[in-house]
């Protein structure tokens, strides 16, 4: 029984240790990712699911501004995200371009992940989104590019 006790207690210690390590590391983001230099798109692009139309300037006080984030290499290809801000609200988030070199598996994952990512970003009103299970790389790249777009817009 003493042995079981040692294992149980040290498991909890290890668990707490890892959790606290990640809590400290969270502000740094997901980790190391390669970002393609400069904004803009590279190579042939394929836009995915139907993207919501960029909202036209509506309120008199504010004007919708759109920017496209840096092209990010997300390990299976390159993507960039376009964000539209109106006043203090993030009103639209779309994939501007995504090129996964014709990898059909990547395409199918991205097709499902991208709409979820766009939705998450709108709900979070920032680039701090949870990501999509099974599309870790795409999620990470999406976050990076979106953050780049938001920074350009001076949003948050």
């Amino acid at each position: 029984m003493k042995r079981a006790g040692i294992v149980a207690v040290t498991s909890m210690v290890g668990f707490a240790g890892v959790l606290s390590f990640h809590a400290k590391a969270a502000p740094l983001g997901f980790g190391v990712r390669v970002v393609a230099p400069g904004a803009g798109q590279t190579g042939p692009t394929t836009t995915t699911a139907p993207s919501p139309a960029t909202s036209a300037p509506s309120a008199a006080s504010s004007q919708a501004r759109t920017a496209t984030g840096a092209a990010v290499n997300y390990n299976y290809g390159v993507l960039s995200v376009s964000a539209t801000v109106q006043g203090t609200k993030l009103t639209n988030v779309t994939i501007a371009s995504i090129d996964d070199a014709g990898n059909f598996r990547s395409e199918s994952i991205d097709q499902q992940a991208v709409p979820v990512l766009e939705q998450e970003a709108l709900q979070a009103q920032s680039a701090n989104i949870q990501g999509v299970s099974g599309a870790s790389y795409t999620s990470a790249g999406f976050e990076d590019s979106l953050q780049s777009a938001l920074t350009q817009l001076g949003f948050r």
Binding site: T10, V13, G14, H22, G31, V32, R33, I129, S133, S136
Partner: protein, 478 residues
């Protein structure tokens, strides 16, 4: 109950082949400055606890890694929960397999503290959990991704196999693990020849190697976490290094250094033979009385098997001695070994030594050929330890090494008893035990013999108030 024949063993001069009678000090009867054997290495009892601390912390860290890799969005997505469960099962299952490898790596300091027989039992006990978790991983990941991609489970499984090379390798690995597991279930084990079972079991190494790639490349906890990935890789590399070191390099070096060869085979009792081996640098072989080696006799028909036998005396440079019961094909073949045959050894192993005691009085209880480690331990027990020896055999002739045991006990002022006779008449139960050793509850009790003997004796000792921590035994039925 009556004891058919109980007598106090009378002393005789110690008769270990080729040497003058030993003094009470177990060492010092050599013929040269380098002929004293080295004392066995003392186990550090906290090593078992340290091992458990490391294992527990690692397991907690693994669970932590799994949890922090998930996100609310991911869990809410279709198949998210299943995939999360599958990731946990995979990571935890792989971690348990790493622990299982460490348990049978025969790492010196761990083995001395715990004993090889206990380490193997722990290995067996962890195995269903490891295999269960890995099976759950396969099932949950497939179902989860199938839900996420809105396809059937079988189609999803096929997609895994056909479009991810690492996953195909992992699937082969899983198949190998299932075969290994099936052959290791007790029922199957007993139907297979030991050598067949062992060769199949070796495929575990191949399975682990095949599965490693998919853990590193697609493991969710490792995406964007190069530190975690590096730690995982280092843990596996270290484990592989330990296995190679302690199961291959150390034994080979030891055999090469000592160059043991059969000196002669001598009969001790009906069906019981002593095998005396001569070697080089035997004075450097650090053995504690009661320890055993895995012996591999390089003779026709025997070289591909390794069997565990205790030394029946401390090494007397340049000789070592083991005493075995020559039953079965293997035993009969050992009987016929020719002098000069080379012997490879692995060891010394075993925690059944005087280091295990916590008092200064012991009761050594053995049956039949189980007296061999007791006989070796009698040479190794410190001078001040009080000794009572009880030996059980079905007839007087079957009391193996009785003269040596009696002499060693007499010289140190202990007591030795023999309980002789067939099982029905010579009952050796708690009452008999209490009669021989009235203060049993104050002693360390060492028991050695076949399972049918040791289990009732241990039960009797417990019934007489010996705390479990002071009962020491070695059980090799696995």
């Amino acid at each position: 109950m009556t004891l058919a024949d109980t007598r106090q063993l009378s002393g005789a001069d110690l008769t270990v082949p080729g040497r003058a009678p030993a003094s009470l000090r177990p060492r010092g009867s050599g013929t040269g400055p380098r002929s004293r054997p080295r004392p066995g290495r003392r186990p550090r009892h906290w090593t078992a606890d340290l091992f458990l601390v490391l294992v527990g912390t690692g397991f907690g860290a693994v669970v932590g890694e799994v949890v922090t890799a998930e996100s609310r969005g991911a869990l809410a997505a279709p198949g998210g929960l299943l995939i999360a469960g599958g990731r946990f099962a995979g990571f935890a299952g792989a971690y348990l397999m790493l622990v299982m490898l460490l348990l049978i790596a025969r790492i010196g300091w761990l083995e001395r503290a715990v004993g090889q027989d206990r380490l193997v039992r722990w290995h067996r006990r962890v195995s269903p959990w490891a295999l269960g978790l890995i099976t759950a991983h396969v099932v949950l990941i497939t179902l989860g991704y199938a839900q996420s991609a809105k396809t059937g489970a079988l189609r999803q499984f096929w997609t895994f196999l056909s479009s991810y090379p690492d996953i195909l390798a992992a699937a082969v690995a899983f198949g190998l693990l299932v075969v290994v597991a099936v052959t290791s279930v007790r029922i199957a084990r007993h139907r297979l020849k030991y050598e067949t079972w062992w060769v199949v079991h070796l495929y575990t190494y191949m399975a682990l190697a095949l599965a490693f790639a998919h853990q590193i490349a697609t493991g969710a906890s490792f995406v964007g976490h190069p530190l975690a990935r590096a730690i995982w890789a280092v843990a596996w590399a270290a484990t592989a290094g330990l296995v190679v070191t302690y199961r291959f390099v150390v034994p080979l070096l030891r055999s090469a250094r000592h160059q043991l060869r059969i000196e002669r085979v001598k009969q001790e009792a009906p069906g019981v033979y002593s095998v005396i081996c001569r070697g080089r640098r035997v004075d450097r072989l650090a053995v504690s009385g009661g320890q055993f080696f895995q012996w591999r006799f390089l003779a026709e028909g025997l070289w591909w098997q390794a069997h565990p036998y205790s030394l029946s005396a401390l090494p007397r440079p340049p000789m070592v001695r083991l005493t075995i019961k020559a039953t079965g094909d293997y035993g009969k073949a050992v009987r016929g070994l020719q002098p000069g045959t080379r012997v490879l050894v692995e060891g010394p192993y075993g925690a059944f030594t005087h280091h295990a005691r916590s008092t200064d009085s012991v009761a050594l209880i053995a049956a039949g050929v189980g007296v061999t480690p007791v006989r070796a331990m009698l040479e190794d027990l410190p001078y001040n330890v009080d000794v009572v020896v009880i030996v059980r055999a079905s007839s007087y002739q079957d009391l193996v090494l009785r003269d040596e045991v009696a002499a060693l006990v007499e010289r140190r002022g202990g007591q030795a008893y023999a309980v002789v006779g067939p099982r029905q008449t010579a009952r050796f139960d708690a009452d008999a035990l209490a009669k021989f050793v009235p203060d049993l509850a104050l002693r360390d009790v060492f028991v050695c013999g076949p399972g049918g003997f040791t289990e009732p004796v241990i039960a009797s000792a417990l019934a007489l108030g010996v705390p479990r921590s002071r009962i020491h035994y070695e059980a090799f039925a696995f």
